[in-house]
Amino acid sequence: MLEVKIHNLSLKNPVLTASGTFGYGEEFADFIDLSRLGGIIVKGTTGSHREGNAYPRMAETPSGMLNAVGLQNAGVDVFCQKTYPRICDIDTNIIVNVSGSSIEEYCETAAKIDALDKIPAIELNISCPNVKKGGMGFGTDPKMAAQVVGEVRKVYHKTLIVKLTPNVTSIADIAKAVEEAGADSVSLINTILGMAVDVERRRPVLSTITGGLSGPAVKPVAVRMVWQVAKAVKIPVIGLGGIASANDALEFLMAGATAVQIGTANFLDPTVTVKVVDGLQDYLNRHNIKDIHDIIGII
């Protein structure tokens, strides 16, 4: 039994796709049956259209990559009018990642998504490392994090997931603050702030100098933080960071995650998500485990 619940949200299995790595799902429809996923968390959506940062936005690193996309998206209105009708009937949970540079922007965007019948949850991104204003700024201070979440909570009535940044001294304190402010779940980790240098050209690889590190390289940090947060809060934790196999996903589940997100691995293997779903079921069968809950938080 792979079914899990995140607050009111039922997932047929604990495997979600991470925002910004799976487009709107459509990009991967040629490779996998999207209905086999626990859910799809679509691209970060903001109050209005954003161009994002200049190219180059990406650097390859050992077992990982840096990105500095900077929330490029068409804005929430275009999402509601054009994108939503196209994807709302995919037979899985479509979750929208909501980003912004001000509390007002977060709230306006969340309220508009709240009105969409077939979007059962949002992931509030208070941890984007690639935008100048707001973004990670909100996620590194417990008070500010609680304030954003509290305000969004007033206007958003479905499952509210808050995505946390790892670029803090104590992620457990941030998690507790957003739990108190009304979050139904926390997802972690967003990318770790990093940098790469082109030594031949003697300049940063990224146009923004720094960017967000993701991929297997960050997995040990992500598992540790999931373990710390799962011990600190009562709401369900969604784990992500470098998951590329069922064993990776199991590390997060055993560390206390109720569900996981697969991000960068989609770039290496567009079919990885369903392989992880199958791998989780194989593990349960192999170990005669009836219910995935029997291993969640076992550590």
Partner: protein
């Protein structure tokens, strides 16, 4: 067009000069339709320092044999590792990706520079299938840096430009006498400065022109938004909205 992920076998590997090589890749299954100018994302085996797939444009396709040819220049650790793989090795590909060239115009000119020549062979073939013989202008710093030459002759009139004069006219492709002639469509792939010069010429003379860009990529399917280029309508993904762009939408880029 449906995208696929599949294992191919390296049926043949050929080294061309000091920096180029071709991989003849055979699929166990029939190939889907592939457009000229499309590319593949290759998983690079063995090298612990290579994490992401590498985008490589499709040089030629043989539907009868279920083979694709990739023409690659060794430019970094990914392409170096590919150049060292033995025949018989399996390569995993995500393909066909991108929009590809539209085969339009009655009097087309294909302009290729260095590794950018790769997608033009299959493109020239597509023209010939329509009974059109394009002018094909190939350039490089030296003759050795023009990886394929004779292969183009069956499909059009071929001209060469080299900076050292070791083949064809001495100078840049844009200085070649063939470049100045009149065409109703220009398709180009190569170094950015070359493509921008070609684009400016086309815009000035009102000739339809398609440029094929080569930004670094991660996903290859338009999901990660890492490979964007500036267009007159904002950022667009080279992997999904490109790699081929109509210069009508790239005026800012061209200048």
């Amino acid at each position: 067009m449906k995208k696929h992920i599949a294992d191919f076998v390296i049926a043949e590997k050929k080294t061309i000069g000091s920096s180029y090589f071709t991989l003849l890749l055979k699929s166990p299954e029939a190939l889907p339709e592939i457009l000229p100018g499309q590319f593949v994302e290759v998983q690079v085996p063995d090298n612990k320092e290579v994490f992401l797939r590498r985008p490589i444009s499709i040089h030629d396709v043989d539907y009868a044999a279920n083979t694709m040819t990739l023409l690659v220049q060794v430019v970094g650790k990914g392409t170096r590792t590919l150049s060292q793989l033995a025949e018989g090795r399996t390569l995993n590909l995500v393909y066909p990706l991108g929009n590809g060239f539209s085969i339009d115009g009655q009097k087309p000119l294909l302009v290729g520079g260095g590794a950018g020549i790769a997608p033009l062979l299959y493109t020239a073939k597509k023209y010939s299938e329509k009974g059109i013989r394009p002018a094909i202008l190939l350039g490089g710093r030296t003759a050795e840096l023009i990886p394929v030459k004779e292969e183009f002759r069956p499909y059009g009139e071929v001209f060469f430009a080299t900076e050292d004069g070791s083949l064809g006219e001495k100078g840049l492709v844009t200085q070649h006498t063939a470049f100045g002639k009149s065409y109703d469509s220009i398709l180009t792939c190569g170094p950015t400065p070359m493509m921008k010069a070609v684009a400016r010429h086309a815009l000035k003379n009102g000739i339809r022109c398609q440029v094929s860009l080569e930004n670094t990529m991660a996903c290859g399917v338009g999901a990660c938004l890492c490979c964007v280029t500036k267009t007159d309508h904002g950022h667009r993904c080279v992997c999904k909205d490109g790699p081929v762009f109509n210069v009508e939408n790239m005026k800012e880029w061209a200048n």
